[in-house]
């Protein structure tokens, strides 16, 4: 660690390259290149069938049928939804995962099996989990609905997926549900790194369980927790299938986020407008991330 510091900057970069080049190739070739293509697409005019019709200027963003100006689309509501969606899903996911991880970190018989059980929503794809919730929540053929009625919780079967507000909150539930395994697992892995002897020492010094958790465990979990939260924010922000499958209400209703709106646009207005909204969406995501990073300042640790 001391030697490289004395050498020149160019040399440092050259030393780093062999370790980083495979990553750079993959990122540039498979992520950035199609992203640039998408930027180009946003400036071109298309019909809904996907046929290109020349340059579009800013029409795909703010034209008569632009991403932000298409009539009857409740844009402010959808922006609010997006923020609510990300904040609620991520916050509850992280809180529940901390609890779950703590529970599963205890030594008891069957914990291994229990760890396998919590992985279920992850092992079964998001698409399938959302599909089975959709199926169970149907008013007619849905067993969850029947169960709710039979237990007296509901008076009559309710179309959870058939109106935007309830569909949105059902989707929030399912989004938390499918995010739990990954988050719990990451925190669990982080918990393994907390040395038993430090906890023991704190215990000897008279720290109670809560103190030990907040003063020792949480700080040591910080790197894993930060990464898990960050990844969750991004994944939840970009999540398409959950809302798409669970919100059966057609059209530009109030149950959308900016990500699902992209796909509504893609179907109705074609790839140009969809790409334009993708770019706006990306900028929006950057803002959310920037706020998060400013709040937690992870670079201090890194």
């Amino acid at each position: 660690m001391t030697a490289p510091r004395r050498r020149g900057r160019a040399h440092e970069v050259r030393a780093a390259l062999p370790w980083l080049v495979p990553t750079l190739i993959l990122i540039v070739g498979v992520v950035l290149y199609p992203a640039v293509l998408m930027g180009w697409t946003a400036t071109r005019k298309y019909n809904a069938y996907g046929v290109e019709r020349g340059p579009a200027g800013w029409d795909n963003f703010v034209g008569p049928a632009g991403a932000l100006t298409f009539p009857t689309v409740p844009i402010p509501q959808i922006l609010i939804n997006t923020v609510v969606w990300v904040v609620v899903v991520v916050a509850i996911t992280v809180a529940l995962s901390l609890l779950l991880a703590q529970f599963l970190n205890q030594k008891f018989r069957g914990r291994k099996l229990l760890r396998l059980v919590i992985i279920l929503p992850w092992a079964s794809s998001v698409v399938m989990t959302a599909t089975v919730f959709n199926y169970g929540l149907q008013t007619d053929v849905g067993l969850f609905n029947r169960l709710l009625v039979d237990t007296g919780i509901l008076e009559a079967a309710y179309g959870f997926t058939k109106n935007p507000t309830s569909a949105f909150w059902v989707a929030v539930f399912v989004a938390i549900y499918v995010s739990l395994p990954f988050t719990t697992y990451t925190i669990l892995a982080g918990l393994q790194a907390v040395p038993e002897d430090i906890l023991e020492a704190a215990h000897m010094d008279g720290a109670n369980r809560f103190q030990r958790y907040t003063r020792i465990v949480l700080p040591m979990l910080r790197p894993a927790l930060l990464v898990a939260t960050l990844i969750n924010i991004i994944n939840v922000f970009n999540s398409l299938p959950i809302l798409k499958i669970l919100n059966e209400t057609p059209g530009y209703n109030t149950g959308h986020t900016t990500t699902t709106l992209i796909f509504e646009y893609k179907a109705q207005l074609g790839p140009g407008v969809a790409s334009a909204l993708s770019l706006v969406n990306f900028a929006f995501c950057l803002v959310v991330i920037a706020i998060y990073l400013a709040a937690v300042q992870p670079t201090k640790e890194v």
Partner: protein
């Protein structure tokens, strides 16, 4: 379960190897044979899955075609209906045009100049074999035949005869007021039974609302424009909303797809719905306890309305004479009686060739009413490139009449259409 998985893997490996072997054989250099065989080329087919047998139905034609043109490789891609249009969109955008596309729209591709007129890729005989009334549906607003229908279906009112008897209704309704009254009586039977199935969800809102519009004596086409916000449409939407507000439709009408209404119907929970031969074939096969009959669709004044849909064969211009010729020979083969009969039967829908229609009328008593309706059906304006915008707006927004006024809903639909120029 693990054992089954292994079996599946073994099967899959064999399939994968077989397919790899066959697509690897096509080299782009062969020459035309003297016996009429084409030099090596590949044609691509993109088609939706109508039923379980769709893939094998196409495969039969391909196998037969291969015996005639051994050098031509046929790439078949079958996709589910749910995301079919986005699949088509992706291919078109990447300029990876299928030679043969089986779809329910053609105007957008025709307007963009991507297609061969079908008379260039089908022999005169083949074109002549298609029922003229149906063939006309594949004509663009420019008067050119851009698509050939491959299957047809018509819509009729299907009603549960047991429920009608229980409610003391003697015959199927012919007018809107009779329909509303009958729906009321059936709903009054109680037990989670609904009078009328109104699927205004994304899948088929354009069909349901068009039928009510036609029932009011209106038409989307006004002069040479498509107009959503018009008095007849307001009347039609008001009538639908009346049923919803009276509580005689299934719950959540604005978010119900036709399949979900059909599930209710199959289980004897629905008095009436607008249905087609494909859905009723399933009812007959799997729900024999549900007794039903079909009747013409009621309208405001009692004149029967019938709705026709055809799906189409589109041939994309890939600028390759060899592929074009192979496409032509393939399509001619496909529409030949022996091939076409099994192919269309697999879809569960009605045929489009005159010979098969005649044969179907004679033998397919289950669908007799649907065959009869083919003579007076009305089609959606699918040949108009603007129809796409109106259809999408209807699909997305018509369902909101459950919570909004008909005037507002139609104004929104019009605004979306207008915004797209």
């Amino acid at each position: 379960m693990a054992r089954f998985a292994t079996t599946g893997l073994a099967v899959a490996t064999v399939v994968a190897l077989a397919l790899t072997g066959c697509s690897g054989g096509a080299a782009p250099t062969a020459s035309t044979g003297a016996d009429g065989t084409l030099s090596a080329t590949t044609i691509k087919i993109l088609a939706p899955s109508y039923s379980e047998s769709s893939k094998s139905d196409w495969q039969k034609i391909i196998t037969e075609f291969k015996t005639k043109q051994p050098n031509v490789t046929v790439e078949l891609q079958i996709e589910g209906w749910d995301d079919f249009s986005s699949k088509v969109q992706a291919r078109i955008q990447a300029k990876d045009y299928p030679d043969i596309l089986n779809d329910n729209a053609f105007a957008g591709a025709a307007e963009a100049g991507l297609l061969y007129p079908v008379n260039e890729v089908m022999s005169a005989n083949t074109l002549a074999s298609i029922e003229p009334a149906l063939l006309k549906n594949g004509m663009g607003t420019d008067g050119k035949q851009w698509a050939a229908p491959d299957i047809a279906s018509s819509r009729m009112l299907a009603y549960n005869t047991d429920l009608f008897a229980q409610a003391g209704i003697a015959k199927a309704p012919t007018t809107w007021s009779e329909l509303a009254a009958d729906a009321q009586k059936i709903t009054a039977l109680g037990g989670d039974i609904h009078g009328y199935g109104l699927p205004l969800g994304k899948e088929e809102a354009q069909v349901e609302s068009s039928l009510w519009l036609w029932g009011a004596g209106g038409d989307w086409v006004q002069g040479n424009k498509l107009v959503a916000n018009q008095p007849a449409a307001v009347e039609a939407f008001t009538e639908m909303k009346k049923l919803v507000d009276a509580g005689v439709t299934q719950p959540n009408a604005g978010a119900t797809n036709r399949q979900q209404a059909a599930d209710l119907f199959n289980n004897g929970k629905l008095g009436m719905m607008l249905s087609h031969s494909g859905l009723l074939k399933e009812t007959r096969a799997k729900f024999p306890q549900t007794k039903f009959a079909v009747a013409p669709i009621p309208s405001k004044n009692g004149d029967p309305v019938a709705f026709g849909v055809t799906d189409f064969i589109l041939a994309f211009n890939n600028g390759d004479a060899n592929r074009k010729e192979a496409t032509k020979q393939f399509l001619d083969l496909m529409y030949s009686d022996s091939m076409y009969q099994t192919w269309y039967a697999g879809t569960g829908l009605l045929p489009v060739t005159t010979s098969m229609i005649a044969k179907g009328k004679a033998s397919d008593t289950d669908n007799a009413a649907f065959y009869d309706a083919l003579s007076y059906v009305k089609f959606l304006p699918v040949g108009d490139p603007k129809w796409d915008a109106l259809q999408k707006a209807l699909q997305g927004t018509a369902g909101t009449i459950t919570s909004d006024t008909p005037e507002n809903v139609l104004a929104k639909i019009q605004a979306q259409v207008d915004a797209q120029g």
